[in-house]
Amino acid sequence: MPHGFAPAATPAASESVADAIRQAATGNRLRDGIPVYFTAEGAWSPAIDDAAHVAGAAADALLREAQSRNAAATPDAVIAPYLIEVVDAGGRLRPVTLRERIRAFGPTTRRAAG
């Protein structure tokens, strides 16, 4: 099973679920529509594990930075970046919502599973 669809790691006893949730920026790449994630280096990667993820008030700044990286309109531009919630599941990033997990890891149909 792709790791994105495995049960989420349980937060450590010392942290609440809310504390474990961080935010990342994502959008769809203009030229081919694939989901991409904003990295700490200011680039966009199709791999969610490359995403920069922050907590609390830093999320707005992350989104502004992601949006500003789209000022130059090129085929690699990203359409309408937005924030998503993610958790660290044993060193791998996993979106909180099913919809974003499907975006990150692909469809869950039998055809997709091969």
Partner: protein, 550 residues
């Protein structure tokens, strides 16, 4: 079938060139996303969860082998090797790249295919009985009228920015295989008491957030008035349909708020006052289009066709089952209509690989006079097969995974793409369909005719409202739940399903469906189909069974 003339071909070429320039300007930034979005939607290109989705129009569900081969080529070259046939007789590709779409549209144009008006607030693909022109129970071929509607509605200057999308369906048979009564306008070709053929015009049907069964706007409309009358109805909708609220903008809401009497008055008044002029269809104009659909010269049946078919059937029980379920009566002696199931148990409903499409195209050329149909139930049809050839056709289909004998049975499930693909969805539909079809397939024959329909959101692209069992995916606090309805029907006795009770979890769906089917099997009279059992016993026993199980 209809063949483009020079005007049509040049129009498509110019349209593709226009779109190619629009894409170029989007990619280099001269067009913003807000500026570009309506332009790409006018060419059927959506941005979904994983990629762009391209919806290609298949006018009234009719394909030539050349067109189907081109769709296979698109699947192979530009997508991931498969396509998805939809509940509007179109095809969708899920993995399209924007930068390749001009080339895709250019290639489609070479076989007279396009994606125009498969999105937007315009008149969409007019759908029809997939057995049109060949059905034994048909009074006249509806396809010339579908083609006339297509020509009238394409880039109609007055109706390109309607309050909302507009869908028309046409049937000319006793059995409604086009879900006519749940369309914005539905048309039944009928014969009146004087023996004349014309249209019963229905209006205000639809699914989605507020499902409604269409009402009769005009009991009998002579054929020559078809386009002028539609024009009048669309003018009334265009003027009075709501534009202030997306959820109240379909014509069904207007019909509901005015009432059918006032709606009829408004349409008839508009029709009486309008200059019908070129919209009136002379017999010559109808004949000019109808000649594209002239029945072919069917070979007469051979003397031992039925005997050889009978021998093949007795020799192979799997073929016999397919013959019984998937083959329908044709109006020409010695011929048959074969429905190809795209619902192998445990797989995504309505999908076909490039190889499967090419095989069907080959079979169409060899056995079906080059023609294929798409049904709104997400299956394909070979409409012109000699009965003696059915065993060979089935063998070749079966070898390619296309031989499932489940048409109209419980495992012949309709499902939208759902949350696995669609940006509008709240829950997944395909995995539910896969699990259910795998679970029910072994009991298909025991259960008999049964229609299960699954939608991943309230937009109801999976037609759940009109399923014998309908399943609607909802999001409850981030978890997928499924609301179950029962008693719907999409045929000439159309009915909307009733909600059985609170939504069930994904894990509970199979059990819930089992329980409901169990009630039906326990209570049905001999040979009684599900809708009749439901009408006789009501909701209560089904509700009790579902609650009792949980």
């Amino acid at each position: 079938m209809y063949r483009y003339d020079e005007f049509d071909r040049r129009f498509l070429e110019r349209r593709v060139a226009q779109y190619r320039d629009q894409v170029r300007r989007r990619l280099d930034g001269r067009l913003s996303e807000d500026e570009f979005r309506p332009l790409r939607l006018q060419n059927g290109l959506y941005l979904q969860l994983h990629a762009y989705m391209l919806r290609i129009a298949i006018p009234y569900g009719t394909l030539s082998s050349a067109k189907l081969r081109m769709l296979a080529h698109v699947a192979r070259r530009y997508d991931r090797g498969y396509g998805h046939f939809t509940t509007r007789q179109n095809i969708q590709f899920n993995w399209i790249k924007l930068e390749q779409t001009p080339d895709i549209l250019a290639e489609l144009a070479t076989v007279e295919l396009h994606s125009i008006q498969t999105s937007g607030n315009d008149i969409r693909n007019t759908t029809a009985d997939p057995f049109a022109g060949v059905a034994a129970d048909e009074i006249e071929d509806p396809r010339p009228y579908c083609e006339l509607i297509r020509q009238w509605s394409t880039l109609h200057p007055e109706f390109s920015f309607l309050p909302r999308k507009f869908k028309i369906a046409v049937s000319a048979a006793a059995t409604d295989r086009a879900a006519v009564r749940v369309h914005d306008i539905g048309l039944y070709l009928r014969r009146n008491a004087a023996g004349e053929v014309g249209f019963e015009v229905l209006i205000g049907g639809g699914l989605g957030r507020t499902p409604m069964i269409a009402k009769t706007l005009r009991q009998f409309l002579p054929k020559q008035h078809l386009l002028s009358y539609l024009e009048a109805a669309l003018r009334v909708y265009n003027e009075f349909g709501r534009r202030d609220n997306l959820f109240k903008s379909r014509i069904k809401i207007l019909v509901q708020s005015l009432g059918i009497e006032k709606m009829r008055e408004a349409v008839e008044a508009e029709w009486a006052a309008m200059d019908k002029g070129a919209l009136e269809l002379s017999p010559e104009a109808i004949a000019d289009v109808a000649r594209h659909f002239a029945p072919p010269l069917y070979a007469p049946p051979g003397d031992d066709d039925e005997e050889s078919l009978d021998r093949a059937s007795r020799a192979n029980p799997a073929f016999a089952r397919w013959l019984e379920r998937n083959v329908a009566a044709h109006k020409a002696p010695g011929h048959a209509i074969a429905t190809i199931s795209l619902k192998p148990p445990g797989r995504s409903p309505g999908d076909a690989s490039a190889e499967q499409m090419e095989l069907v195209a080959d079979l169409a050329d060899a056995y079906s006079l080059g023609e294929i149909r798409v049904s709104y139930e997400q299956n394909l049809v070979l409409p012109n097969i000699r009965r003696a050839a059915l065993p060979e056709v089935w063998q070749r289909l079966d070898a390619a995974g296309l031989g499932t004998a489940n048409i109209g049975l419980a495992s012949d499930i309709i499902a939208c793409p759902g949350l696995d693909f669609c940006s509008l969805a709240n829950a997944r539909s395909i995995p539910i369909a896969e699990r259910l079809s795998a679970h029910l397939a072994a009991r298909d024959r025991e259960i008999g005719d049964f229609h299960i329909k699954i939608s991943g959101c309230i937009n109801a692209c999976g037609h759940h409202h009109v399923g014998h069992i309908g399943i609607l995916g909802v999001d409850k606090n981030g978890e997928e739940f499924y609301q179950i309805t029962i008693g719907g029907s999409a045929d000439e006795n159309a009915a909307l399903g009733a909600i059985v009770g609170p939504a069930v979890s994904s894990e509970q769906v199979t059990n819930a469906v089992d329980n409901l089917i169990g009630v039906y099997l326990r209570l049905r009279s001999d040979g009684e189909r599900f809708p009749d059992t439901y009408r006789r016993v009501g909701l209560a026993p089904f509700k009790e069974a579902l609650y009792a199980a949980h």
